[in-house]
């Protein structure tokens, strides 16, 4: 019922204290703990000292342009300003896990959560665990990637990351060592593809803490949706999801599309921007043939593993249905 590896624990009083302690060997960040505690119990993550940032209340704030890393997923899902301004993000937050997980999980933790690949979580010393084989590539891979699946075929589990990519958000990272050292990274450069480094999921380095996510104002008159397909009605990761943010000329849905961001989840080791599909939309009216062309373009460079070919159809179906609903 508890964790077998020995742990020290520190609840940091401020960001500088947290960053100072994170410089030590084997220290790790505890946000809400909803993923970390399981990883520690199952030994997929080893950590000698847990640095809890749960007491850093100034990382909790949600403002129109910035969301603190400690804002909970539940708060994002019911925040009126987020709903009005970034509806696809609010919808993505409501689609995460279960009520209990949304109450506990933080935005920072949701972006930095570990893979859900059952080989990585199981007793397999896989490529991502420092071994030399991706067992999923030729094993049970119906949950795995159809895009960007070089070396390791896991899919990134975060729903919020998909919506944040569609809103062109930037992730603010503090450290190492002190809080005056910060950098911001566009969310579409935040996740690391396995072809570049199969042992890490994000660019967050040793000793660093995600402190906030900054979201620029979306284009005037934009519309946004998030659609998630999972094997059951709740409490499950996406088999496929899509965040779509569009703006039409003159704010009129009958007029050509002037701005399009289409981002797919559950299909790649990072939120997957369907750039060819965006190009198929911009400058055109959102009619049946445009929608068909976009859905087709989205999967042009998909490649299925043995058991996940259905995801190619799912992506197309989801994009067709959601674009249709936005055509009004």
């Amino acid at each position: 019922m508890s964790i077998s590896q020995d742990l020290a624990y520190l609840r940091a009083a401020d960001l500088d204290e947290a960053l100072r302690h994170l410089e030590k060997d084997g220290a790790c960040v505890h946000g809400g703990g909803s993923d970390l505690v399981t990883c520690l119990r199952e030994g997929t993550v080893t950590c000698a000292q847990v640095i809890s940032i749960g007491g850093l209340d100034d990382l909790r704030a949600i403002t129109p342009t910035s969301i603190g890393a400690l804002a909970t997923i539940a708060e994002l899902g019911r925040h009126e300003e987020i709903e009005r301004r970034l509806p696809a993000l609010a919808a993505a937050a409501r689609a995460v896990g279960s009520p209990q997980l949304r109450n506990q999980g933080t935005l920072g933790g949701n972006l930095c959560q570990k893979p859900r690949c059952w080989y990585w979580r199981g007793d397999f010393h896989c490529l991502r665990q420092g071994g030399d084989t991706c067992y999923a590539a030729f094993g049970q891979n119906h949950g795995h990637a159809i895009f960007g699946a070089e070396a390791c075929v896991y899919v990134h589990p975060s729903d919020t990351a998909v919506a944040l990519t569609a809103y062109e958000a930037r992730v603010r990272i503090a450290g190492p060592g002190r809080s005056s050292r910060t950098r911001t990274v566009p969310v579409d450069e935040f996740f690391v593809l396995p072809a570049d480094d199969p042992t890490r999921e994000t660019v967050v380095g040793r000793g660093e803490i995600v402190t906030a996510v900054e979201v620029p104002a979306p284009p005037d008159g934009h519309v946004g949706v998030y659609r998630k397909i999972r094997a059951r009605g709740a409490w499950d990761f996406a088999l496929t999801s899509a965040a779509i943010v569009l703006a039409f000329e003159g704010g009129d849905r009958g007029k050509p599309v002037r701005h399009a961001r289409l981002v797919l989840g559950g299909v790649a080791p990072a939120p997957w921007r369907a750039a060819a599909a965006e190009q198929a939309l911009v400058g055109r009216r959102l009619d049946e043939s445009t929608i068909a062309a976009a859905a087709e373009a989205a999967v042009a460079d998909a490649s299925a593993l043995d058991h996940n070919g259905f995801k190619i159809d799912l992506v197309q179906g989801v994009l067709r249905e959601e674009l249709q609903s936005l055509a009004g």
């Binding site: 590896q5 742990l7 624990y9 909803s34 809890s52 539940a74 279960s98 009520p99 209990q100 409490w235």
Partner: protein, 202 residues
């Protein structure tokens, strides 16, 4: 939140605590407010103050102990059940500051400074509270293993939304599996519990 006969509930908790918790000490209500905890060394027992069902309890814990472990094995509060221990079943649901979450994914040290409510805390003196009563009256279980977690999820839902519709009820208990498939009666029980809670302080 409703009123309740505190002396009874405290007495019971007190007896449970001193009777069953080997590393647990009961302390009578001292140290209100946000108890501070800075650090716990590895392999060391650290005394922390937990606020559970309205009582302040001083408990010796290791950093790696979960709230689920401490509630059951140190404090004898076995109303909170152990299932998957990875956030996939809901049997361990408790309220933290009135909001449902999984005790299996919560380190005990993380509960310092927060109000923990367990199934035992929903009792109305020696009687069942309204949500518990509604589960009994609606036959909302078969084996009963998931029931404590379902009750806590329902309690959390009703504290936030006293009059949920069916869809909101379904979402509210969507983080609790019932392997017996008693869902239809669970939804009915939660709807009834809402009425019981609204209809005059239970």
């Amino acid at each position: 939140m409703r009123d309740r006969d505190d002396s009874d509930a405290s007495r019971r908790n007190f007896l449970k605590t001193v009777g069953l918790g080997s590393a647990a000490l009961a302390s009578a209500g001292a140290g209100q407010g946000r108890a501070e905890l800075a650090a716990v060394e590895p392999e060391k027992l650290q005394k922390i103050l937990l606020s559970i069902n309205g009582r302040q309890l001083s408990v010796l814990v290791e950093a790696r102990w979960t709230l689920l472990f401490v509630l059951r094995e140190q404090l004898g509060l076995t109303g909170t059940k152990v299932g998957c221990e990875r956030g996939e079943c809901g049997a361990c649901t408790v309220l933290l500051d009135g909001v449902p979450r999984y005790a299996c994914l919560t380190l005990a040290v993380e509960a310092v400074g927060h109000e923990v409510t367990t199934l035992e805390g929903l009792l109305d003196g020696e009687d069942l509270g309204p949500v518990q009563r509604a589960f009994v009256e609606n036959d909302a279980y078969q084996c009963g293993y998931c029931t404590p977690g379902q009750v806590m999820a329902a309690e959390g839902l009703l504290r936030e939304n006293p009059a949920p519709d069916l869809e909101q009820i379904r979402v509210g208990v969507s983080g609790n599996l019932c392997r017996c498939g008693a869902y239809a009666n669970i939804f009915r029980a939660v709807a009834d519990a809402a009425k019981l809670r609204r209809g005059g302080g239970a």
